[in-house]
Symmetry: C2
Subunit: 154 residues, 2 copies
């Protein structure tokens, strides 16, 4: 896998991910650790909730999306260091058995004015399920190395 | 623990959380599952990174913050259903042994115009470490039940 530098990237570039599937047990395990609410923990209790059944924590969806991002097509030299996330939305919940896929698009590229070894890209991440329905969207700013600064650790 | 409804909440209300500590093993386990990058996986490799040592994935910090939120003072009737998150930032990384705490403030309350059984609150969440340093901030919109609609499942 080739590692990408700022000079390799262009506004409008799109990157596809692999897929990840999630089981009921994984949804429940994540919820016990991080989001212990009935609609994430218990299929029976979840039927009485606004979701009508067990759903993954939005933070679980976000974490699975990060796995898709890190293992997807946009492999950045030195790794993916996120500076911030905006407009994180979950238009549909993720349910047991769903298979997720991520599409990433570069929407802005900004070389650093003060630090010649780096820049920042702004990306849009859209996570869909096996039906093509959108389950999560967000924008993120990510630190990217410049090739000219290959020897500076990032 | 009393469950809170829209009528119980006021702009400016603040809620404190318990604390949660994170170990090196937990940071590494989360990273293998969701963010497998050297600076989250391997203390030695992380020394060469921009972080200078092992740090938790930002999504791990977000997930731990959700645990603090759900188990904290703002217990909403029917549970915490997040509609969206804005301006998620990680001004400092979380490192092994850190102990996190969350402060939540209500900054806006909006009863639904179309649905009399609910409203939306906007909150600011600030996660700090044991030194009082801010490790994460964001704004979130959260669905809240109105007391008048007690019998409608949320």
């Amino acid at each position: 896998m080739i590692e990408l530098y700022l000079e390799d990237l262009h506004v409008g570039d799109r990157f596809e991910s692999n897929t990840v599937s999630v089981t009921e047990n994984e949804i429940i395990a994540f919820a016990w650790a991080f989001d212990p609410q009935p609609f994430h923990l218990d299929a029976e209790a979840a039927k009485q909730s606004v979701f009508g059944g067990l759903v993954a924590s939005g933070w679980h969806t976000a974490a699975m999306t990060m796995k898709l991002f890190v293992t997807g097509g946009l492999r950045l030299a030195g790794g993916s260091v996120g500076l911030g996330v905006d407009e994180l939305r979950w238009p549909r919940p993720v349910r047991p058995g769903d298979t997720l896929r991520l599409q990433t698009e570069i929407i802005e590229i900004r070389p650093s004015r003060s630090k010649p070894d780096r820049g920042i890209i702004r990306i849009r991440n859209i996570t869909t399920n096996q039906k093509g329905e959108v389950v999560q969207t967000f924008f993120a700013s990510v630190l990217v190395r410049r090739r000219t600064a290959d020897k500076i650790p990032l």
